[in-house]
Amino acid sequence: MEIGLNHYLVLSTILFAIGLVGVMRRKNLLMLFFATEILLNSVNVAFAAISHYYGDLTGQMFAFFVIAIAASEVAVGLGLLVVWHKRHNNIDLDNMTSMRG
């Protein structure tokens, strides 16, 4: 039984769907960050698989850049979250409606 590219793409789809469900149903912003990490990781799996099956290193390069972007996103996002928590004492998404038109 040979594991092909399609297996990895299907796995990536399943992980991406799980992450999207998390993004849509979570209310706590910290939990929302967890779901975005799942999204980024599922795409990384697809990149690495395509890179392997086509003998090309570009996919792995982009996976590196995605990891770098994820790390900086966590740093900035947690900083903003700390500021919001200091000021309002909760991090629920439904309370962040100050920009409602």
Partner: protein, 191 residues
């Protein structure tokens, strides 16, 4: 054969861990399951021969990102249960599946059209780390530098955002000063 066994085992484990992450109501369970899922994801990279990427995945996610999230969970009040949005479940699941299938279509469209050619083919006889170094520091040098600058900007932003009022050290101040500072802070919050 062993590749297939490893793939299915780690696929099952990863999906289970990420499912726990998005469905549990305890923040601590979500964090632990996410860390475990990240480790299992790195197994796919090792199976695919991307050794360096797998090592980076473990170091960055399980080391740096999880430490940051653990810090965040100590800072926020995570002992209470996380409240969920009460929405239509079918809409949520349906939209997620449609978007995920769209992502796969985006990935597989050039493959089906036979439009992919290897831009930087792998070099015979070189290890994965060596290949990555060769490509990263020749063809992708400028994006690499831009990513470095972006990480620096993120670090400065993190310090500026989270480090306010951290110049006052609680261990070096006298009890009286601490009490005065707390009262002043309470006044600001109430006003």
């Amino acid at each position: 054969m062993f590749e297939a066994i490893a793939f299915y085992l780690f696929a099952f484990l990863t999906i289970a861990m990420f499912y726990i992450t998005v469905t549990t109501s305890q923040a601590l369970y979500a964090l632990s399951a996410l860390a475990a899922g990240m480790i299992f994801i790195s197994a796919f990279f090792f199976i695919l021969g991307a050794d360096f990427l797998g090592a980076i995945q473990i170091v960055v996610y399980s080391g740096a990102v999880m430490a940051l999230y653990a810090f965040g969970m100590m800072f926020f009040d995570t002992t209470r249960d996380v409240k969920e949005k009460q929405g239509n479940k079918f809409i949520v699941v349906g939209l997620s599946v449609i978007s995920a299938v769209l992502v796969v279509a985006i990935f597989s469209a050039p493959i089906l059209g036979d439009n992919i050619t290897a831009l930087y083919p792998m070099i015979e006889g070189a290890g994965n780390t060596q290949e990555v170094g060769l490509v990263l520091f020749t063809k992708y040098l400028v994006p690499f530098e831009v990513a470095a600058v972006m990480l620096l900007v993120a670090m400065v932003a993190g310090i500026v955002l989270a480090g306010k009022k951290m110049d006052a050290s609680l261990t070096l101040m006298s009890e009286n000063d601490i009490r005065l500072m707390r009262e002043e802070k309470n006044k600001k919050v109430l006003s």
